[in-house]
């Protein structure tokens, strides 16, 4: 299991290859990469704030929960903070399991939890100014499907 919080860019393809190379008993890997989206074509930067210490701790807990619940062979979370440009990679998750359903579900679980339980805050910077991105109810609601 690997959890990384960093400001630097990363290569999602290279990271997935590295993740896959270490595997011994998995029949499936799933990966997801989040990208800074420029919805209105005016995004100058996306500033991501984190809570040093708690952010790593929360991500490790989420990854550990996924490892246990789906008996994963391995899990990876990389999340950036600092000032990002449009169309840059923000974060990625990868999961490895014996079968694809577990790998897909665990990746969805990681995404759902880190969206509203990992301490990151996004701010969109445009020519008109900067504004904090509001949390969405739909992201909070997404957690309920894992609470059974």
């Amino acid at each position: 299991m690997r959890v990384v919080v960093q400001t630097e860019r990363f290569d999602p393809g290279a990271e997935l290859n590295r993740f896959s190379e270490g595997l011994k008993a998995s029949g499936a890997t799933v990966s997801f990469t989040g990208i800074t989206r420029d919805v209105i074509g005016e995004l100058q930067a996306m500033e991501i704030e984190c809570y040093p210490g708690m952010t790593e701790k929360a991500l490790k807990q989420i990854a550990t929960d996924a490892m246990t619940r789906w008996s994963l062979e391995d899990a990876l979370i990389i999340h950036r903070h600092g000032r990002l440009k449009a169309q840059e990679e923000i974060m990625m998750v990868a999961t490895a399991a014996r079968h694809r359903v577990a790998a897909f579900d665990a990746a969805q679980f990681l995404m759902d939890y880190l969206k509203s339980r990992a301490p990151f805050w996004k701010k969109e910077v445009t020519r008109e100014g900067a504004s904090w991105v509001d949390a969405k109810d739909i992201d909070e609601d997404a957690l309920t499907r894992w609470q059974d």
Binding site: Y51, G53, A118, P119
Partner: protein, 82 residues
């Protein structure tokens, strides 16, 4: 003394990322009330607790959580990671 940390718009409204607070508050809510009564900027930042989250010693918790032995309390808006 408790270290109180603020993030995102909470930090911007209060004007500092971190401060040491001399308090006898026994719960998060008591600490919030103390801060609110200090200055207008705190009252403003803590005007709607529904749009705020709190962590005690880096664990997400509720506003009625106890503060006994706590070293660090953080206030911030709902998270927007991913």
């Amino acid at each position: 003394m408790i270290d109180v940390l603020y993030f995102a718009w909470v930090r911007e409204r209060i004007g500092v990322p971190k401060e040491a607070v001399d308090t006898k508050a026994s719960t998060v809510m008591e600490l919030v009330e103390e801060l609110r009564s200090r200055e207008e900027r705190y009252a403003l930042a803590f005007s709607d607790l529904n749009s705020m989250r709190v962590a005690v010693d880096q664990d997400l918790t509720d506003f009625d959580a106890p503060l006994s032995g706590a070293r660090e309390v953080a206030f911030f808006p709902p998270m927007t990671g991913g």
